[in-house]
């Protein structure tokens, strides 16, 4: 199982600050597809962070990684 942290409007929309995908390993692209299917999340404008770094679509995500969905940021 892979746990994915959510923030800001996504966290509020989902009503929770983390969601899960029943996989041991998959690519970032596949992860986003899973999340769209399971949670009806609009993933167009989301980035995925793996272990606190921005990940590419072909990067792999493994159980135990710290994974997060990053909506467009608005700090500063």
């Amino acid at each position: 199982m892979i746990t994915v942290q959510c923030f800001a409007h996504l966290r509020e929309q989902l009503g929770q600050d983390q969601i899960t995908v029943e996989k041991e390993k998959l690519t970032v692209k596949e992860l986003l597809k899973e999340l769209t299917d399971q949670y009806a999340i609009q993933t167009d404008s989301l980035m995925v962070a793996v272990n606190e770094e921005y990940a590419e679509p072909e990067d792999s995500v493994t159980k135990g990684d710290r994974v997060a969905l990053i909506p467009p940021v608005s700090g500063g």
């Binding site: 942290q5 923030f7 800001a8 409007h9 966290r11 509020e12 970032v28 692209k29 986003l32 167009d44 404008s45 989301l46 980035m47 995925v48 962070a49 606190e52 770094e53 921005y54 990940a55 590419e56 679509p57 710290r66 997060a68 990053i70 909506p71 467009p72 940021v73 608005s74 700090g75 500063g76």
Partner: protein
Amino acid sequence: MVHRIHKGGVVMYEVTPDVISIEEVTNKVVRPEAGAIVNFIGTVREFTKGKRTLSLTYEAYPAMAKKQLERIGNEIQGKWPDAKVAIAHRTGKLAISDIAVVIAVSTPHRKDAYEANEYAIERIKQIVPIWKKEKWEDGEEWIGDQLEKTNYPDGKPEEVKAP
């Protein structure tokens, strides 16, 4: 190039729910080699495009936000090797005129301090996972997309790659 995150135990990059002291952040970059320090201080503005803001709430992914601030520090070190940088970003609920972020950059000569400082705030707005929710008289909303990037067909924005 490895950028020192700590200097004598001092935390140079910080994401904090506490009030930020301009003096404290500035003091982190004071040093004999520096003749110039430029600060950027982001404060909560009351009116944006005629609309009155009542308060802002900043939410961060703290571990990653710190890491991305460090990354900005590394990028600056690459571009302006003589610069020393400290950044503090606040989280939680802020009132009008409260300080959201302080960036301090010291350099031997002033031109570099202005440039590196401006670079830091631009990059914060691109890559640091912090989000603000604006509260107006008639509602509230999470602000995204300040840079008018509507989506990321490649899975992540161009700006994530260091320019």
